[in-house]
Symmetry: C2
Subunit: 215 residues, 2 copies
């Protein structure tokens, strides 16, 4: 497959493409025009054609896109078939919400263990996933192939926890703490931050900008 350097804006849109294509696929849609796909995604048809051409462009003039094929190509580009294996550090409210409700498997990830220091949790299972004491992290990681760590620990131990994952050879960290991790010092690790505050402030901006327009 032809692959050019893909811009980060396109990469940010790829998961949305996947979600929409997956919906269409599950609803039995066989093919779709770029304009119909654009409409359902709130983008322009030319934007869609441009985005998808970045990684090969499978649309055909007068036919549109084959949904199943495009869906599987996007999944492939997103690395959803790489059998990522995940552990989660921190089984507090947020950690538990992810363990019990987030569809890791549907996104190509297998969650195999949780770690926490709470004696009430250690030794139990949450949503089918065993909870170990955090001090067992290194020995667990030696015995299991794990490539992604989810950080849902309290802020004060975020950096230390990230380092421990890094030392264990983790490839990626999904960071839910509001702490910026020292990425320069863990160069081999990809970090994806979920910054709730940034998202809420974006909402605040949209509300204010809209209120000002109405003045």
């Amino acid at each position: 497959m032809k692959k050019e350097k893909i811009s980060s804006a396109v990469i940010r849109r790829l998961p949305r493409y996947y979600r929409h294509l997956d919906d269409l696929y599950r609803n039995g849609v066989v093919r779709i025009s770029s304009s119909a796909l654009a409409k359902s995604m709130g983008l322009t048809a030319s934007q869609i054609r441009q985005d998808l051409s970045c990684f090969g462009g499978f649309g055909q003039q007068g036919y549109g896109y084959n949904v199943e094929r495009l869906r599987s190509e996007v999944a492939d580009i997103l690395g959803m078939n790489r059998a990522h294996t995940v552990v989660i550090l921190g089984a507090g409210n947020l950690g538990r919400a992810l363990i019990e409700n987030f569809p890791f498997r549907a996104n190509g990830f297998r969650l195999i263990a949780a770690f926490d220091v709470d004696p009430v949790l250690v030794g139990t299972r949450l949503g089918g996933v065993p909870v170990y004491h955090t001090q067992m992290l290194e020995s667990y990681m030696r015995e299991h192939k794990v490539n992604v760590g989810v950080l849902t620990v309290p802020g004060p131990v975020a950096v230390e926890s990230a380092y421990r994952l890094y030392e264990c050879g983790i490839e990626g960290i999904w960071n839910f703490t509001n702490i910026e991790l020292p990425e320069q010092k863990m160069e081999s690790v990809k970090v994806e931050n979920v910054h709730f505050a940034d998202s809420l402030l974006t909402l605040s901006y949209m509300i204010s900008a809209s209120a000002e327009e109405q003045l």
Copy 2:
């Protein structure tokens, strides 16, 4: 204050600017050059100057930026001083994580009530916030000025819950369900989605792209 039409990419970066400037301010930094600010944020100095010029540009040649002033200007643009009032729908694990741990106030939001259907929770307080039965939502909204609703309900009731907030005259919805809300039908409402799956798939992409580079 001069305000041009700000691009959505710049808007997405504004909260990060705020976070960095707030950190600097709390650490007693009075002024900072665009190159130093750029370095700490992983951007280029020209990018910083360009971004900040979009809303007036307060840097001075040879001086840099006054941290306190720039921080307060960014807060102003983000609408952080609008005294947003918030209710949260759904006090399950994720709702509780937000209620108990998310610093609403530091971001300019006041969380005043939670709604859930669980009889064990209704009538209690979580993190100081009263929990009411969801059927009380409309009467509560009539009696209180609320402009933002947080959606942490289960997927199957997400759309219905959003409509109820819309009918109550809500200005913004912070949507944590993985359901796309029918935004066209609630045009007056600004919706900000936190799509965990999109974030995880972005991480998946980064890991795959990095693995391929190493081949």
